[in-house]
Protein backbone atom coordinates (compact mmCIF):
# COMPACT_ATOMS: atom_id res chain seq x y z
CA UNK A 1 0.00 0.00 0.00
CA UNK A 2 1.28 3.42 -0.91
CA UNK A 3 -0.19 6.57 0.47
CA UNK A 4 0.91 10.05 -0.37
CA UNK A 5 0.21 13.34 1.28
CA UNK A 6 1.52 16.84 0.99
CA UNK A 7 3.45 17.71 4.13
CA UNK A 8 3.71 21.35 3.06
CA UNK A 9 -0.07 21.55 2.56
CA UNK A 10 -0.24 22.08 -1.18
CA UNK A 11 -3.69 23.17 -2.34
CA UNK A 12 -3.28 25.06 -5.62
CA UNK A 13 -6.54 26.10 -7.31
CA UNK A 14 -7.41 23.95 -10.39
CA UNK A 15 -4.41 21.64 -9.73
CA UNK A 16 -5.15 20.03 -6.35
CA UNK A 17 -6.54 17.58 -5.32
CA UNK A 18 -6.78 16.70 -9.02
CA UNK A 19 -6.15 18.61 -12.20
CA UNK A 20 -9.12 20.61 -13.52
CA UNK A 21 -7.55 23.40 -15.54
CA UNK A 22 -9.78 22.94 -18.60
CA UNK A 23 -13.45 23.55 -18.00
CA UNK A 24 -16.57 23.53 -20.23
CA UNK A 25 -15.00 25.81 -22.87
CA UNK A 26 -12.66 23.14 -24.22
CA UNK A 27 -15.21 20.31 -24.79
CA UNK A 28 -17.64 22.82 -26.29
CA UNK A 29 -14.92 24.04 -28.64
CA UNK A 30 -13.95 20.46 -29.55
CA UNK A 31 -17.62 19.71 -30.22
CA UNK A 32 -18.16 22.76 -32.45
CA UNK A 33 -14.87 22.19 -34.28
CA UNK A 34 -15.72 18.53 -34.94
CA UNK A 35 -19.24 19.42 -36.04
CA UNK A 36 -18.02 22.09 -38.48
CA UNK A 37 -15.35 19.69 -39.77
CA UNK A 38 -18.03 17.03 -40.36
CA UNK A 39 -20.37 19.36 -42.29
CA UNK A 40 -17.55 20.82 -44.40
CA UNK A 41 -16.20 17.35 -45.14
CA UNK A 42 -19.54 16.17 -46.53
CA UNK A 43 -20.08 19.44 -48.41
CA UNK A 44 -16.70 19.09 -50.09
CA UNK A 45 -17.05 15.35 -50.65
CA UNK A 46 -20.44 15.51 -52.39
CA UNK A 47 -19.24 18.41 -54.51
CA UNK A 48 -16.26 16.34 -55.62
CA UNK A 49 -18.59 13.40 -56.33
CA UNK A 50 -20.73 15.68 -58.50
CA UNK A 51 -23.81 15.20 -56.31
CA UNK A 52 -24.25 18.82 -55.26
CA UNK A 53 -27.65 19.08 -57.01
CA UNK A 54 -29.12 16.05 -55.18
CA UNK A 55 -27.72 17.06 -51.78
CA UNK A 56 -28.72 20.71 -51.28
CA UNK A 57 -28.68 20.62 -47.46
CA UNK A 58 -25.27 18.94 -47.35
CA UNK A 59 -23.56 21.21 -49.84
CA UNK A 60 -25.35 24.50 -49.11
CA UNK A 61 -27.72 24.90 -46.18
CA UNK A 62 -25.79 23.08 -43.46
CA UNK A 63 -22.56 24.89 -44.34
CA UNK A 64 -24.30 28.13 -43.35
CA UNK A 65 -23.70 27.27 -39.70
CA UNK A 66 -20.03 26.27 -40.07
CA UNK A 67 -18.55 29.80 -39.94
CA UNK A 68 -20.72 30.47 -36.88
CA UNK A 69 -19.70 27.20 -35.22
CA UNK A 70 -16.01 27.85 -35.91
CA UNK A 71 -16.11 31.46 -34.70
CA UNK A 72 -18.06 30.45 -31.60
CA UNK A 73 -15.57 27.62 -31.01
CA UNK A 74 -12.65 30.00 -31.35
CA UNK A 75 -14.40 32.37 -28.95
CA UNK A 76 -14.73 29.60 -26.35
CA UNK A 77 -11.07 28.75 -26.88
CA UNK A 78 -10.28 32.40 -26.28
CA UNK A 79 -12.43 32.38 -23.11
CA UNK A 80 -10.35 29.49 -21.83
CA UNK A 81 -7.08 31.42 -22.12
CA UNK A 82 -5.82 32.80 -18.82
CA UNK A 83 -3.53 35.41 -20.39
CA UNK A 84 -6.07 36.70 -22.88
CA UNK A 85 -4.41 39.92 -24.03
CA UNK A 86 -1.48 37.86 -25.35
CA UNK A 87 -3.56 35.47 -27.51
CA UNK A 88 -2.00 36.93 -30.70
CA UNK A 89 1.27 35.22 -29.74
CA UNK A 90 -0.36 32.07 -31.19
CA UNK A 91 0.02 33.62 -34.63
CA UNK A 92 3.59 34.81 -34.28
CA UNK A 93 4.88 31.25 -33.89
CA UNK A 94 4.42 28.04 -35.79
CA UNK A 95 5.36 24.87 -33.98
CA UNK A 96 4.48 21.53 -35.51
CA UNK A 97 5.36 19.64 -32.34
CA UNK A 98 2.55 21.46 -30.57
CA UNK A 99 -0.96 20.43 -31.68
CA UNK A 100 -2.30 23.60 -30.06
CA UNK A 101 -0.13 25.62 -32.46
CA UNK A 102 -0.90 23.89 -35.77
CA UNK A 103 -4.54 23.54 -34.76
CA UNK A 104 -4.74 27.30 -34.33
CA UNK A 105 -3.25 27.74 -37.81
CA UNK A 106 -5.66 25.24 -39.37
CA UNK A 107 -8.55 27.13 -37.78
CA UNK A 108 -7.17 30.37 -39.18
CA UNK A 109 -7.27 28.80 -42.65
CA UNK A 110 -10.56 26.89 -42.52
CA UNK A 111 -12.71 29.59 -40.87
CA UNK A 112 -12.39 32.12 -43.74
CA UNK A 113 -12.59 29.25 -46.28
CA UNK A 114 -15.92 28.17 -44.78
CA UNK A 115 -17.13 31.76 -45.22
CA UNK A 116 -15.95 31.76 -48.85
CA UNK A 117 -17.80 28.48 -49.40
CA UNK A 118 -21.04 29.85 -47.94
CA UNK A 119 -20.54 33.10 -49.88
CA UNK A 120 -20.29 31.22 -53.17
CA UNK A 121 -23.79 29.78 -52.58
CA UNK A 122 -25.47 32.89 -51.16
CA UNK A 123 -27.23 33.84 -54.42
CA UNK A 124 -28.41 30.27 -54.95
CA UNK A 125 -29.80 30.02 -51.43
CA UNK A 126 -31.26 33.52 -51.20
CA UNK A 127 -32.28 34.59 -54.72
CA UNK A 128 -32.63 38.25 -53.77
CA UNK A 129 -29.14 38.42 -52.30
CA UNK A 130 -26.85 41.20 -53.42
CA UNK A 131 -23.24 41.77 -52.38
CA UNK A 132 -23.57 45.54 -53.03
CA UNK A 133 -19.89 45.68 -53.97
CA UNK A 134 -18.55 45.00 -57.44
CA UNK A 135 -15.36 43.57 -55.97
CA UNK A 136 -17.29 40.98 -53.95
CA UNK A 137 -19.35 40.07 -56.99
CA UNK A 138 -16.18 39.42 -58.93
CA UNK A 139 -14.75 37.40 -56.04
CA UNK A 140 -17.96 35.35 -55.89
CA UNK A 141 -17.78 34.60 -59.62
CA UNK A 142 -14.19 33.50 -59.11
CA UNK A 143 -15.07 31.19 -56.18
CA UNK A 144 -17.94 29.63 -58.15
CA UNK A 145 -15.60 28.93 -61.07
CA UNK A 146 -13.00 27.30 -58.84
CA UNK A 147 -15.44 25.67 -56.41
CA UNK A 148 -14.20 22.19 -57.32
CA UNK A 149 -10.66 23.03 -56.19
CA UNK A 150 -12.00 24.76 -53.11
CA UNK A 151 -13.85 21.52 -52.30
CA UNK A 152 -10.56 19.62 -52.42
CA UNK A 153 -8.92 22.06 -49.97
CA UNK A 154 -11.97 21.95 -47.69
CA UNK A 155 -12.08 18.14 -47.63
CA UNK A 156 -8.40 17.91 -46.66
CA UNK A 157 -8.54 20.72 -44.10
CA UNK A 158 -11.76 19.42 -42.52
CA UNK A 159 -10.19 16.00 -41.97
CA UNK A 160 -7.15 17.70 -40.42
CA UNK A 161 -9.45 19.80 -38.21
CA UNK A 162 -11.51 16.77 -37.17
CA UNK A 163 -8.47 14.70 -36.27
CA UNK A 164 -6.85 17.66 -34.57
CA UNK A 165 -9.68 17.90 -32.02
CA UNK A 166 -8.60 14.44 -30.85
CA UNK A 167 -4.86 14.88 -31.22
CA UNK A 168 -5.05 18.02 -29.09
CA UNK A 169 -5.81 15.66 -26.21
CA UNK A 170 -3.91 12.55 -27.27
CA UNK A 171 -0.59 14.43 -27.51
CA UNK A 172 -0.46 14.73 -23.71
CA UNK A 173 1.66 11.86 -22.49
CA UNK A 174 0.99 12.89 -18.88
CA UNK A 175 -2.78 12.16 -19.17
CA UNK A 176 -3.02 8.40 -19.76
CA UNK A 177 -6.72 8.49 -20.73
CA UNK A 178 -5.98 10.86 -23.62
CA UNK A 179 -2.63 9.45 -24.61
CA UNK A 180 -3.76 6.83 -27.13
CA UNK A 181 -3.50 6.96 -30.89
CA UNK A 182 -7.14 5.98 -31.52
CA UNK A 183 -8.43 9.25 -30.01
CA UNK A 184 -7.70 11.31 -33.15
CA UNK A 185 -9.65 9.01 -35.52
CA UNK A 186 -12.35 8.56 -32.84
CA UNK A 187 -12.92 12.31 -32.55
CA UNK A 188 -12.87 12.62 -36.34
CA UNK A 189 -15.55 9.94 -36.78
CA UNK A 190 -17.61 11.36 -33.94
CA UNK A 191 -17.34 14.87 -35.41
CA UNK A 192 -18.43 13.59 -38.83
CA UNK A 193 -21.36 11.82 -37.19
CA UNK A 194 -22.50 15.05 -35.48
CA UNK A 195 -22.04 16.88 -38.79
CA UNK A 196 -24.22 14.27 -40.53
CA UNK A 197 -26.83 14.71 -37.78
CA UNK A 198 -27.02 18.46 -38.46
CA UNK A 199 -27.41 17.78 -42.20
CA UNK A 200 -30.25 15.31 -41.51
CA UNK A 201 -31.89 17.95 -39.29
CA UNK A 202 -31.71 20.59 -42.05
CA UNK A 203 -32.49 18.41 -45.04
CA UNK A 204 -35.93 18.45 -46.67
CA UNK A 205 -35.30 15.78 -49.29
CA UNK A 206 -36.01 12.14 -48.53
CA UNK A 207 -33.19 11.00 -50.82
CA UNK A 208 -30.63 13.13 -49.03
CA UNK A 209 -31.87 12.09 -45.58
CA UNK A 210 -31.60 8.41 -46.54
CA UNK A 211 -28.02 8.79 -47.81
CA UNK A 212 -26.92 10.74 -44.75
CA UNK A 213 -28.66 8.28 -42.39
CA UNK A 214 -26.79 5.39 -44.02
CA UNK A 215 -23.48 7.24 -43.72
CA UNK A 216 -24.27 8.16 -40.13
CA UNK A 217 -25.10 4.56 -39.30
CA UNK A 218 -21.73 3.45 -40.64
CA UNK A 219 -19.98 6.20 -38.67
CA UNK A 220 -21.74 5.13 -35.46
CA UNK A 221 -20.66 1.51 -35.97
CA UNK A 222 -17.05 2.66 -36.51
CA UNK A 223 -17.28 4.89 -33.44
CA UNK A 224 -18.54 2.07 -31.22
CA UNK A 225 -15.75 -0.17 -32.55
CA UNK A 226 -13.17 2.55 -31.78
CA UNK A 227 -14.53 3.03 -28.26
CA UNK A 228 -14.32 -0.69 -27.47
CA UNK A 229 -10.93 -0.83 -29.13
CA UNK A 230 -9.72 2.07 -26.97
CA UNK A 231 -10.94 0.52 -23.72
CA UNK A 232 -9.52 -2.89 -24.66
CA UNK A 233 -6.19 -1.23 -25.40
CA UNK A 234 -6.22 0.46 -21.99
CA UNK A 235 -7.14 -2.76 -20.17
CA UNK A 236 -4.19 -4.50 -21.79
CA UNK A 237 -1.88 -1.58 -20.98
CA UNK A 238 0.25 -0.37 -18.10
CA UNK A 239 -0.99 0.46 -14.59
CA UNK A 240 -1.86 4.06 -15.43
CA UNK A 241 -3.83 2.99 -18.52
CA UNK A 242 -5.75 0.36 -16.60
CA UNK A 243 -6.59 3.04 -14.02
CA UNK A 244 -7.76 5.28 -16.88
CA UNK A 245 -10.04 2.59 -18.33
CA UNK A 246 -11.43 1.85 -14.88
CA UNK A 247 -12.91 5.35 -14.74
CA UNK A 248 -15.36 4.03 -17.35
CA UNK A 249 -15.53 0.45 -16.14
CA UNK A 250 -16.81 0.64 -12.58
CA UNK A 251 -15.34 4.07 -11.83
CA UNK A 252 -17.08 7.43 -11.32
CA UNK A 253 -17.77 7.99 -15.04
CA UNK A 254 -19.30 4.57 -15.74
CA UNK A 255 -22.97 5.60 -15.82
CA UNK A 256 -22.39 8.92 -17.58
CA UNK A 257 -20.30 7.30 -20.25
CA UNK A 258 -22.29 4.14 -21.00
CA UNK A 259 -25.75 5.70 -20.62
CA UNK A 260 -25.34 9.17 -22.13
CA UNK A 261 -22.61 8.52 -24.68
CA UNK A 262 -22.88 4.89 -25.76
CA UNK A 263 -26.56 4.06 -25.15
CA UNK A 264 -28.37 7.37 -25.76
CA UNK A 265 -25.76 8.95 -28.01
CA UNK A 266 -24.87 5.98 -30.24
CA UNK A 267 -26.86 2.74 -29.85
CA UNK A 268 -30.35 4.23 -29.54
CA UNK A 269 -30.03 6.69 -32.45
CA UNK A 270 -28.47 3.87 -34.51
CA UNK A 271 -31.51 1.72 -33.77
CA UNK A 272 -33.89 4.57 -34.68
CA UNK A 273 -32.02 5.23 -37.94
CA UNK A 274 -32.13 1.54 -38.84
CA UNK A 275 -35.88 1.45 -38.22
CA UNK A 276 -36.26 4.57 -40.33
CA UNK A 277 -34.31 3.04 -43.22
CA UNK A 278 -36.49 -0.07 -42.95
CA UNK A 279 -39.54 2.11 -43.57
CA UNK A 280 -40.80 2.72 -40.02
CA UNK A 281 -41.99 6.24 -39.32
CA UNK A 282 -39.45 7.81 -36.97
CA UNK A 283 -39.13 11.58 -36.73
CA UNK A 284 -35.59 12.27 -38.01
CA UNK A 285 -35.19 14.96 -35.36
CA UNK A 286 -34.95 12.43 -32.53
CA UNK A 287 -31.85 10.44 -33.59
CA UNK A 288 -30.16 13.62 -34.85
CA UNK A 289 -30.62 15.46 -31.53
CA UNK A 290 -29.50 12.37 -29.58
CA UNK A 291 -26.34 12.13 -31.70
CA UNK A 292 -25.53 15.78 -31.12
CA UNK A 293 -26.06 15.44 -27.36
CA UNK A 294 -24.01 12.24 -27.29
CA UNK A 295 -21.20 13.92 -29.21
CA UNK A 296 -21.05 16.77 -26.75
CA UNK A 297 -21.27 14.48 -23.70
CA UNK A 298 -18.46 12.34 -25.10
CA UNK A 299 -16.12 15.32 -25.36
CA UNK A 300 -17.19 16.68 -22.01
CA UNK A 301 -16.56 13.35 -20.26
CA UNK A 302 -13.25 12.76 -22.04
CA UNK A 303 -11.90 16.20 -21.07
CA UNK A 304 -13.15 15.92 -17.49
CA UNK A 305 -12.03 12.32 -16.90
CA UNK A 306 -8.72 12.68 -18.72
CA UNK A 307 -7.55 15.41 -16.38
CA UNK A 308 -7.97 13.11 -13.38
CA UNK A 309 -5.71 10.44 -14.86
CA UNK A 310 -2.02 10.83 -14.11
CA UNK A 311 1.26 9.06 -13.48
CA UNK A 312 1.56 7.54 -10.04
CA UNK A 313 4.74 7.64 -8.07
Amino acid sequence: MKEELFVSGRNIPDIDPFLNIWHWQIPLYLFLGGLAAGILFFAGLFTLLGKDKEMPATVKWATLITPLALILGLFFLFLDLKHKSYFWQLYTTMRFESPMSWGAWVLLAITPLSMVWVGSYMKEMFPGWSWKLALLDRFEAWTIRYRFYLAWVIVVLSVVLGIYTGILLSAFNARPLWNNSILGPLFLVSGMSTGAAVIILMSKSHYEKTIMSRIDLLLIVIEIFFIFHMIMGFRAGSAVQIAAANLFVGGPFTINFWVFVVLLGLLFPALLETLELRGFRVPAVVPAILILMGGFMFRFIMVEAGQITRYLY
Partner: protein, 177 residues
Amino acid sequence: MRYAMAIDTRKCVGCSDCVVACQTENDVPIGFCRDWVSETVDGSYPNTVIELRSERCNHCEYAPCVRCCPTHASHYEEGGIVVVTHHKCIGCGACIQSCPYEARYSHPEGWVDKCTFCIHRVRKGEQPACAAVCPTKCICFGDLEDPNSEVTNVLKNRKYKVLAPEAGTRPQIFYLV
Protein backbone atom coordinates in the same frame (compact mmCIF):
# COMPACT_ATOMS: atom_id res chain seq x y z
CA MET B 1 26.32 22.35 -18.77
CA ARG B 2 23.46 20.32 -17.30
CA TYR B 3 21.93 21.64 -14.12
CA ALA B 4 20.39 19.05 -11.84
CA MET B 5 19.43 18.49 -8.23
CA ALA B 6 20.09 15.55 -5.95
CA ILE B 7 17.71 15.51 -2.99
CA ASP B 8 18.41 13.24 -0.04
CA THR B 9 15.17 11.60 1.10
CA ARG B 10 17.04 10.17 4.10
CA LYS B 11 18.10 13.58 5.38
CA CYS B 12 14.89 15.50 4.67
CA VAL B 13 12.81 16.07 7.79
CA GLY B 14 9.88 17.68 5.99
CA CYS B 15 10.22 21.10 7.62
CA SER B 16 8.98 22.85 4.43
CA ASP B 17 11.68 25.50 4.71
CA CYS B 18 12.41 25.04 0.99
CA VAL B 19 8.80 25.90 0.23
CA VAL B 20 8.81 29.08 2.27
CA ALA B 21 12.23 30.12 0.94
CA CYS B 22 10.99 29.69 -2.62
CA GLN B 23 7.77 31.60 -1.99
CA THR B 24 9.74 34.48 -0.48
CA GLU B 25 12.52 34.54 -3.06
CA ASN B 26 10.25 34.31 -6.08
CA ASP B 27 7.32 36.36 -4.81
CA VAL B 28 4.99 33.38 -5.27
CA PRO B 29 1.35 34.52 -4.78
CA ILE B 30 -0.37 33.38 -1.59
CA GLY B 31 -2.00 29.97 -1.93
CA PHE B 32 0.45 28.80 -4.60
CA CYS B 33 3.85 27.12 -4.49
CA ARG B 34 6.58 26.20 -6.92
CA ASP B 35 7.95 23.45 -4.67
CA TRP B 36 6.31 21.28 -2.06
CA VAL B 37 7.10 18.43 0.31
CA SER B 38 5.30 15.13 -0.09
CA GLU B 39 5.36 12.14 2.19
CA THR B 40 4.89 8.62 0.90
CA VAL B 41 3.93 5.90 3.34
CA ASP B 42 4.59 2.41 2.12
CA GLY B 43 3.49 -0.79 3.84
CA SER B 44 0.95 -1.20 6.65
CA TYR B 45 1.23 -0.53 10.35
CA PRO B 46 3.45 -1.42 12.19
CA ASN B 47 5.78 -2.11 9.26
CA THR B 48 5.78 1.18 7.42
CA VAL B 49 8.45 3.00 5.49
CA ILE B 50 8.18 6.75 5.13
CA GLU B 51 9.82 8.77 2.40
CA LEU B 52 9.93 12.56 2.43
CA ARG B 53 10.53 14.33 -0.83
CA SER B 54 10.93 17.98 -1.65
CA GLU B 55 9.38 18.11 -5.12
CA ARG B 56 9.39 20.72 -7.89
CA CYS B 57 9.71 21.03 -11.67
CA ASN B 58 12.07 18.30 -12.88
CA HIS B 59 13.58 20.45 -15.64
CA CYS B 60 13.27 17.42 -17.91
CA GLU B 61 15.66 16.84 -20.75
CA TYR B 62 12.72 15.96 -23.03
CA ALA B 63 10.27 18.35 -21.44
CA PRO B 64 6.71 17.73 -22.71
CA CYS B 65 5.75 21.26 -21.63
CA VAL B 66 8.32 22.75 -24.02
CA ARG B 67 7.17 20.44 -26.79
CA CYS B 68 3.47 21.26 -26.50
CA CYS B 69 3.77 25.02 -25.91
CA PRO B 70 2.19 26.72 -28.95
CA THR B 71 4.06 30.01 -28.58
CA HIS B 72 7.52 28.94 -27.45
CA ALA B 73 6.92 30.62 -24.09
CA SER B 74 8.15 27.45 -22.35
CA HIS B 75 11.72 26.94 -23.43
CA TYR B 76 15.14 25.72 -22.36
CA GLU B 77 17.67 28.13 -20.92
CA GLU B 78 21.36 27.46 -20.27
CA GLY B 79 22.05 24.16 -18.52
CA GLY B 80 18.64 22.80 -19.58
CA ILE B 81 16.65 24.95 -17.16
CA VAL B 82 13.01 25.10 -18.33
CA VAL B 83 11.65 28.64 -18.09
CA VAL B 84 8.38 30.36 -19.09
CA THR B 85 8.59 33.77 -20.82
CA HIS B 86 5.65 35.66 -19.31
CA HIS B 87 4.95 37.94 -22.24
CA LYS B 88 4.78 35.02 -24.67
CA CYS B 89 2.50 32.81 -22.55
CA ILE B 90 -1.17 32.91 -23.56
CA GLY B 91 -2.33 30.81 -20.60
CA CYS B 92 -3.79 28.00 -22.71
CA GLY B 93 -2.94 25.39 -20.07
CA ALA B 94 -1.40 22.88 -22.52
CA CYS B 95 1.83 22.72 -20.50
CA ILE B 96 -0.10 22.18 -17.26
CA GLN B 97 -1.85 19.21 -18.89
CA SER B 98 1.42 17.88 -20.28
CA CYS B 99 3.40 17.79 -17.04
CA PRO B 100 3.48 14.34 -15.40
CA TYR B 101 4.62 15.98 -12.15
CA GLU B 102 1.89 18.61 -11.91
CA ALA B 103 4.64 21.12 -11.26
CA ARG B 104 2.95 24.02 -13.08
CA TYR B 105 0.11 26.29 -12.09
CA SER B 106 -1.75 29.22 -13.56
CA HIS B 107 -0.45 32.43 -11.96
CA PRO B 108 -3.25 34.83 -10.94
CA GLU B 109 -1.85 37.30 -13.49
CA GLY B 110 -2.56 34.82 -16.29
CA TRP B 111 0.73 33.28 -17.30
CA VAL B 112 1.88 29.84 -16.22
CA ASP B 113 4.40 29.69 -13.41
CA LYS B 114 6.74 27.06 -12.01
CA CYS B 115 10.18 26.48 -10.49
CA THR B 116 13.00 28.16 -12.43
CA PHE B 117 15.86 26.58 -10.44
CA CYS B 118 16.18 30.24 -9.26
CA ILE B 119 17.89 31.00 -12.57
CA HIS B 120 18.45 34.62 -11.47
CA ARG B 121 20.51 33.37 -8.50
CA VAL B 122 22.26 30.60 -10.46
CA ARG B 123 23.48 33.17 -13.01
CA LYS B 124 25.14 35.05 -10.16
CA GLY B 125 26.83 31.84 -9.02
CA GLU B 126 24.47 31.34 -6.07
CA GLN B 127 22.48 28.29 -5.09
CA PRO B 128 18.69 28.13 -5.67
CA ALA B 129 16.83 29.49 -2.63
CA CYS B 130 15.52 26.06 -1.54
CA ALA B 131 19.01 24.52 -1.62
CA ALA B 132 20.60 27.48 0.15
CA VAL B 133 18.10 27.47 3.00
CA CYS B 134 17.72 23.73 3.68
CA PRO B 135 18.67 23.16 7.36
CA THR B 136 19.69 19.51 6.82
CA LYS B 137 21.50 20.36 3.55
CA CYS B 138 19.61 17.62 1.78
CA ILE B 139 19.23 19.55 -1.51
CA CYS B 140 22.35 19.49 -3.66
CA PHE B 141 22.33 21.61 -6.84
CA GLY B 142 24.98 21.70 -9.53
CA ASP B 143 26.26 20.86 -12.99
CA LEU B 144 26.12 17.18 -13.98
CA GLU B 145 28.60 17.67 -16.79
CA ASP B 146 31.26 18.90 -14.35
CA PRO B 147 32.98 15.72 -13.08
CA ASN B 148 34.06 17.46 -9.89
CA SER B 149 30.71 18.96 -8.91
CA GLU B 150 29.02 17.84 -5.72
CA VAL B 151 25.93 16.52 -7.59
CA THR B 152 28.02 14.34 -9.87
CA ASN B 153 29.88 12.87 -6.90
CA VAL B 154 26.79 12.34 -4.80
CA LEU B 155 25.06 10.51 -7.67
CA LYS B 156 28.19 8.42 -8.21
CA ASN B 157 28.23 7.22 -4.63
CA ARG B 158 24.58 6.92 -3.66
CA LYS B 159 21.56 4.97 -4.85
CA TYR B 160 18.96 7.23 -6.40
CA LYS B 161 15.71 7.26 -8.29
CA VAL B 162 13.72 9.70 -10.41
CA LEU B 163 9.95 10.17 -10.37
CA ALA B 164 7.87 8.52 -13.12
CA PRO B 165 10.79 7.59 -15.41
CA GLU B 166 8.23 5.72 -17.54
CA ALA B 167 6.86 9.09 -18.66
CA GLY B 168 10.00 9.31 -20.79
CA THR B 169 10.81 12.90 -19.92
CA ARG B 170 14.31 12.32 -18.45
CA PRO B 171 13.72 14.27 -15.24
CA GLN B 172 16.74 16.01 -13.69
CA ILE B 173 15.75 15.87 -10.03
CA PHE B 174 17.35 12.82 -8.48
CA TYR B 175 16.11 11.42 -5.16
CA LEU B 176 18.75 9.72 -3.04
CA VAL B 177 17.26 6.67 -1.35
